[in-house]
Symmetry: C2
Subunit: 197 residues, 2 copies
């Protein structure tokens, strides 16, 4: 068995993405009223984004999920990211997708304090991924848009295959899992994952 | 790298355990009334057990989960098996445990049509495991109570470490995952997992 010396022993902090909504400017006004804007609740590791104070309710044919946080700034298209557990509770068939790949994805109704938006598509389960800068890729020997494997230890230890390397100069070195994935691996705050050669 | 020829290429059908409750005879009567018994809703792969028609509501300090199925027959002690997602929604700290290992586990209130039971302990997240007969162990070269690794393929492919081999003459050859684990792996009906050497 050969080892890739570049990635041997490389670790990445694990972050858990709870269900959230990236909202368009038009939908934001429908949900929160004319002239509405997003207000920062807290910063998140990817420095161009923030968790907003504003929350909405997701309403599907089978159920609803309340207090779902918006993530700012506004985007050109509304995107709802849920776990498969959420999708089942809502009764929607959210496909596994990369962010932004929304054509033919699931629909849903969003309810805000001032109005509702019914989406014909935009609801996805996001594929697990690493955020990396070009320098991170160079340092750790990773190819942009490649698929890598990561190990998480502990009593629910596992190895995630199919982890997409997403690269942008603004990105901060992090593994992003959804709540199902994080729970399956028993992830605790401060945990890191090992990038496998 | 050496291969263990005995287990190479061995697969096991995957089954997903949704949240459920094994109930004691005394608690069954409290929840469903004097003289209550469990009625079979459907059989399950482990042939000495069955999913009952009877359901209860789980009530925790933060939230509740309705329509949680009882699994029969009655046991000596009530045991509630939830996912980590469920535990968070309920607001309880359910530990990762093997079935039956309940001391110091989380508490919860169960509500049935005729009464309520408040458990001081008995709520766990069950450790992932394989059910195997002694003959399965012999055939596939597995040691009872050993820990094995299993691979699941597909777009959310992963390798589960820390899979306990549970052995009993009544057991049917199956991998049991909870809903978080199954969703994290993108498990679909009919999927199998590969036992890794």
């Amino acid at each position: 068995m050969t080892m890739n010396e570049t990635t041997a022993g490389v670790t990445v902090p694990v972050e858990v993405s709870n269900r959230h909504v990236h909202v368009s400017a038009g939908h934001l006004e429908t949900l929160f009223g004319p002239g509405a804007s997003l207000h920062q609740h807290r910063s998140i590791s990817q420095t161009d984004q923030f968790a907003a104070r504003e929350t909405v309710t997701l309403i599907g044919p089978r159920g609803r999920v309340e207090n779902v946080r918006l993530v700012g700034p506004v985007r050109s298209r509304t995107q709802v990211e849920v776990s498969q557990t959420d999708a089942r509770q809502l009764g929607v068939s959210a496909p596994l997708r990369d962010s932004g790949d929304l054509d033919g994805s699931a629909g849903l109704t969003l309810a805000g304090p001032r109005g509702r938006v019914t989406l014909s598509h935009g609801v996805i389960v996001q594929r697990r991924h690493i955020h990396a800068s070009p320098l991170d890729c160079q340092t750790y020997g990773l190819k942009p848009h490649s698929i890598v494997r990561l190990r998480i230890g502990g009593p629910r230890g596992l190895i995630f295959d199919q982890v997409l390397v997403k690269v942008d100069p603004s990105f901060v070195w992090r593994l992003h899992l959804d709540t199902d994935e994080a729970n399956a691996a028993g992830v605790k705050p401060g945990d890191v994952a090992e990038v496998l050669p």
